[in-house]
């Protein structure tokens, strides 16, 4: 096909049609049709928590509190000591080959927060209480929807305060023994079990710190909304975060699935907030479809793990001993089910549609926290509920993760919508996290515990980092969207002059997302590369050669991420404004700055104190695989991060930052001391070309052109070329996901064909329907005894 346009022209030159509408139409779904459907009702408030807690062995349960009116089940309490013993024995068995056999919890005490009276707050209580508080706030916000200033100035800051309390409590509770609680909800023989251990506490901490920033931002972002829309947004937002909290503390399959579904449904309604747009409706449809496919796989997974005992609590699943076949089935179903939610290939197609359609704080929460609940689920099932890990599971996870990472970043490079680009970037980072997950399984399967701890630490660190910087980037795009009204790269530019603070904070996020030192993502990618460097030590003869080559693919994904972030930041904030109405763009409100500033500070802080973060992550790695990285990593003091040994590798972000800042400032001062010369402003030089318009600078399509040329087979490219006889010539280049045509379209056609086939039996003739009933009755009588 002849490509008559040079690489630098914009790919969509329209006469008489708005670019935004065209892009919306171009980005709209080719696949399954959109359906109208809204039946959301507010979720029933759960009953008050009646009893909970762990008591020390030998004492009676302290339950005469007066406010109780229900009975509770004694045998399901676990005494502190029996829990410790059981956990200890598990770790001893598992980490036999490691040189440091130790039980996880060093202290015998729980994390108790003493409040007046005989009332003790355990981490599980705090988690449940905070989710209840959020639900209440959501309902109050819905009730007060006609007073928007109350909602935005009171409700959302209270949400933020509650999330801060949650994160502090979880940080304190990381080192404590697991705490359980049972709610009088659910089925008669399967009430809701809740449990907070180190893994849950880590992910709850992540949820807390991210929700704090996002809620502060939302206090300023939702200022312009009123009435029905604001009320529904507030309600759905709070149900969403409460549901995510409950997913992270669920300790049996029923409460997990209930919370999972609540999370999916509330986010569906958030995605379809702008339900009058076709793109939002179809995005919501595909999102719900894939979420339910994943939920179905999860149901089967839980079914495989209950091992025929019928007991769906996680405690029973932990104690069950499955054989290889069932364990493999459970793992693959979990990978499929949680992968659908996390956005792994090939079930990733909902991510680039749903994230742009939702309001920006919700996109931030979805990308930063909801995807991580899927990662939590994978970790929970693979390392906590299943008692064996086979090496080829790790190879499968590694392959899937690598393909996802490369796919995500390639597609991010060619996007023309700011939020779609960030959505694909999320896919890439989830791929990197799953690569680390695969490495952990590999090392664990070959009983290399310390190396498994290294890659697990890298994985959890990257989970934390990605939450923080992705939330920051999505919130910044929210501010840009509000200030300019446009989500398309072609209508932005030069915003660093109009919105300097948002631009500065977004720069921190963009640099962090590129994996540059001394920011946070560099540390986790560095740890991951270090663990890749140790894979030649694997005892398997082909793995130890092929896996290091996989490191090359990972590095490619990482360097493309820098390309993507330069495009993202440069086209939005730098250069000249590509549209006249950008001159009216206003700086964001103070709440928005607060949210962005918090997340930017976290990006810097997490990069500067890696040893402290690794100490916190150690609680999780010890509880999952029985080994920790902390003592080895901090062997050379608090300044140097030395995984494995100082001679092997070391990194000191503090020295790095200090020296760079010192030399930068020093050179500035020296230059101005000795070469004090003037500065004057003039037109841009541009090699002497006098006529420069903003249209001459590069566009997002231009930035993506080298990628789509080099990696052409990865895209499905559709070009519309102008004809010499056209009165309104149009050049359009559309780069679509191959999976739609290759996978989803055939599946949809098959489903339709099957439905048509079944539909032939529904022709409306009553005689045949009576015959159907009669035949069924005969068959049942004949074959069922």
């Amino acid at each position: 096909m002849v490509n008559t346009a040079s690489p630098n022209t914009t790919s969509s030159i329209h006469a008489g049609r708005g670019l935004k509408e065209t892009i919306e139409r171009v980005a709209s779904e080719p696949g399954a049709g959109a359906r109208r459907g809204r039946g959301g009702r507010s979720y029933p408030r759960p009953n008050r928590l009646v009893h909970r807690g762990v008591w020390k062995a030998g004492t009676l349960p302290d339950n005469n509190r007066g406010r109780m009116s229900r009975t509770f089940r004694n045998p399901t309490y676990e005494s502190d000591e029996t829990l410790q013993q059981r956990l200890c024995s598990t770790w001893t068995r598992v980490s036999q080959r490691s040189h440091a056999v130790q039980c996880a919890h060093q202290s015998n005490s729980h994390a108790r927060i003493q409040v007046t009276g005989s009332f003790d707050l355990l981490p599980v209580d705090v988690a449940f209480a905070v989710s209840c508080v959020w639900l209440v706030l959501g309902l109050v916000g819905f009730a007060l929807r006609n007073r928007p200033q109350v909602v935005t100035s009171l409700i959302f800051p209270l949400t933020a305060a509650a999330s801060l309390i949650l994160s502090i409590a979880m940080l304190v509770g990381l080192g404590a023994a697991p705490t359980v609680a049972i709610l009088p909800l659910g089925l008669p023989d399967l009430p809701f079990h809740l449990r907070v251990d180190a893994l849950s506490a880590f992910f709850l901490f992540l949820l807390g710190i991210t929700t704090f920033g996002v809620s502060l931002f939302s206090a300023g972002y939702f200022r312009g909304e009123t009435g029905e829309r604001l009320g529904l947004l507030t309600l759905q937002y709070h149900v969403f975060i409460a549901a995510m909290t409950l997913v992270l503390v669920a300790d049996d399959a029923l409460s997990f699935m209930v919370a999972w579904e609540c999370m999916a449904l509330s986010s569906y309604f958030l995605v379809t907030t702008d339900h009058w747009l076709l793109q939002a409706r179809s995005a919501g449809f595909i999102y719900l479809l894939i979420a339910h496919l994943g939920a179905l796989c999860l149901l089967f997974c839980f079914g495989a793990m209950q091992a025929g005992q019928g007991d769906y609590t996680f405690a029973a699943m932990r104690a069950a001993r499955l054989d290889t076949t069932w364990s493999t089935a459970a793992f693959l179903l979990a990978l499929l089910g949680f992968g659908a939610k996390a956005g792994l290939l090939p079930l990733h197609v909902w991510l680039p549609e749903a994230h742009p359609a939702a309001p920006s704080p919700v996109s931030a929460l979805m990308s930063a926290v909801m995807l991580k609940t899927a990662i939590y689920g994978l970790l929970r099932i693979t390392f906590n509920l299943l008692d064996m890990q086979l090496w080829w599971w790790g190879a499968v996870a590694l392959t899937v993760g690598l393909l996802t990472a490369l796919f995500g970043v390639l597609f991010a490079a060619v996007q023309t919508d700011i939020k779609r680009l960030l959505a694909y970037s999320s896919i890439e980072n989830i791929g990197i996290i799953i690569v680390a997950f695969g490495l952990t399984i590999l090392f664990r399967a070959f009983n290399m515990e310390l190396l498994a701890a290294l890659s697990l630490t890298a994985m959890l660190y990257h989970v934390l980092n990605h939450s923080v910087f992705k939330a920051l980037l999505f919130l910044a795009t929210g501010s840009v969207l509000h200030a300019t009204g446009s989500r398309s790269f072609g209508m932005l530019g030069g915003l660093i002059h109009r919105m300097p603070r948002v631009a500065g904070l977004c720069l921190v996020g963009a640099l962090a997302a590129s994996g540059l030192p001394p920011f946070n993502a560099f540390v986790s990618e560095w740890l991951l590369l270090q663990s890749f460097l140790l894979t030649p030590g694997l005892p398997h003869s082909y793995l130890n050669m092929l896996v290091p080559v996989a490191a090359a693919a990972l590095v490619l994904a990482g360097s493309l991420a820098a390309y993507v972030m330069v495009k993202f930041y440069g086209v939005i904030f730098l250069g000249r404004p590509r549209d006249a109405k950008l001159a009216a763009a206003q700086e964001a409100s103070r709440w928005e700055h607060a949210g962005l500033g918090w997340l930017a500070a976290l990006c810097v802080l997490l990069g500067l104190i890696p040893l402290t973060v690794i100490d916190a992550i150690d609680y999780v790695t010890v509880s999952l695989i029985g080994e920790k990285l902390g003592p080895v990593a901090s062997k050379s003091g608090w300044l140097l991060l030395t995984p494995l040994s100082p001679a092997r590798a070391s990194y000191s972000p503090v020295i790095f930052l200090l020296v760079t800042v010192l030399v930068t400032v020093g050179s500035y001062l020296l230059v101005h001391r000795y070469f004090r010369r003037g500065t004057r402003r003039a037109d841009a030089w541009d090699c002497g070309y006098p006529l420069q318009t903003p249209r001459m600078q590069d566009t997002a399509e231009g930035f993506g052109q080298p990628i789509s040329q080099i990696f052409e087979p990865a895209f499905e490219i559709e070009r519309t070329l102008p004809d010499p006889a056209d009165l309104h010539p149009v050049y359009r280049k559309r780069q679509a996901d191959r999976f739609w045509r290759a996978l989803y379209l055939p599946v949809a056609r098959l489903v339709e064909a099957l439905s048509d086939l079944v539909g032939r039996s529904q022709h409306g003739r009553i005689q045949w329907y009576l015959f159907y009933s009669f035949a069924t009755l005969l068959i049942l009588l004949a074959f069922v005894r």
Binding site: F522, W526, P536, Y569, A649, I655, L662, R677, T679
Partner: protein
């Protein structure tokens, strides 16, 4: 006292690199001029250029932002940090423990990202063109570079440059075939990352063929001086990394500096130890002369490729690096 001595050694080495980098650039340009039968401007020309640029007034575009003005200093800071990490004269630098090879690649990436953003800041066609091309070359060169470092670190069981130099220097002329492939890949990456022919012509005046120059078109005076200086430091550092990995003999090891400086150790230390530091300087100068001449020769006999041949070039470098790693697994372990 030893620590203070080592910090002084560190600072001295950084200053040596900062001072010698324009000289290296001048030597390369002079060699290139001789090869083209011209008389050349002399090896001191880059110093004169820097002097001239620092003495001028800076002219900035009207819409240049704070990022544009801060980037030259940030770039210079990153290159100076890298100069403190790469073992050029001695290999037991205290700062070297702050960053290993992966962090070194990260430092170069940080500098490059800032330069690309600054290039996009003024909003001209050439700036954004240069930024795009530079990031294209970078994302293809970075995996190749990291694979080269991986090969070296698999041999020396470490990613710390100090340890790599110590291991490879003490190997007593053992031939590592994997390092031969890695050296070829590293040479190709060096040409790409430092904007030399065949990827980019550093002496071109044609804007549509520029990559690195296009990014710095809008800079003038002291900003341009700092950026040019930082580019020459980067070239010198890449050549020094190449020496450290593939020609590590002659770099002073641990303890050699104290043996040199502390007078009362002269009785105990051997002559080889005492003289290791000055010998290392002599070796460095010799290596730089040879490397500069070699670079000039390579540039003279090659032609610049068009931009979309660069991915093939860098893909070849990547392939060679991966081959080096696989050869390490097959032959050396």
């Amino acid at each position: 006292m030893t620590l203070a001595l080592r910090i002084v050694s560190q600072l001295t080495q950084a200053l040596i690199i900062l001072g010698l980098a324009p000289l290296l650039l001048g030597w390369v340009n002079q060699c290139r001029a001789w090869l083209q039968n011209k008389s050349g401007a002399g090896i001191q020309q880059p110093y004169q250029v820097l002097n001239k640029l620092f003495a001028k007034d800076a002219v900035l575009a009207r819409n240049a932002s704070v990022l544009f003005r801060a980037t030259p200093y940030i770039l210079f800071g990153c290159m100076t940090l890298a100069a403190g990490i790469v073992p050029v004269v001695a290999s037991d630098l205290p700062f070297a423990r702050a960053a290993d090879v992966i962090a070194l690649v990260g430092i170069f990436a940080l500098a490059r990202v800032f330069l690309a953003l600054a290039a996009m800041d003024v909003g001209t066609a050439f700036g954004t063109l240069g930024a795009r091309r530079e990031m294209l070359i970078a994302f293809l060169a970075e995996p190749a570079l990291l694979m080269v470092f991986f090969t070296a670190s698999l041999i020396s069981q470490s990613t710390s440059l100090n340890t790599i130099v110590a291991t490879l220097a003490s190997a007593r002329l053992v031939i590592y075939p994997s390092l031969a492939f890695a050296a070829a890949a590293f040479l190709m990456v060096l040409l790409a990352e430092n904007a030399r022919i065949p990827i980019d012509n550093p002496a071109t005046h044609l804007e549509l063929t520029m990559v690195h120059e296009a990014m710095i078109l809008e800079y003038s005076a002291r900003h341009l001086a700092l950026i040019e200086w930082a580019s020459s430091i980067k070239l010198m550092l890449y050549i020094a990394i190449g020496f450290a990995l593939f020609v590590p003999w002659g770099i002073a090891g641990a303890g050699d500096l104290t043996a040199f400086v502390s007078v009362w150790n002269w009785g105990e230390a051997s002559a080889g130890q005492i003289l290791a530091y000055p010998i290392a300087m002599v070796f460095l100068l010799m290596k730089l002369v040879v490397a500069g001449a070699g670079l000039a020769l390579l540039e003279t006999v090659s032609a610049k490729m068009r931009i979309f041949r660069a991915p093939e070039f860098l893909g070849t470098a990547f392939l060679l690096a991966v081959l080096g790693m696989l050869i390490h697994f097959l032959l050396e372990s």
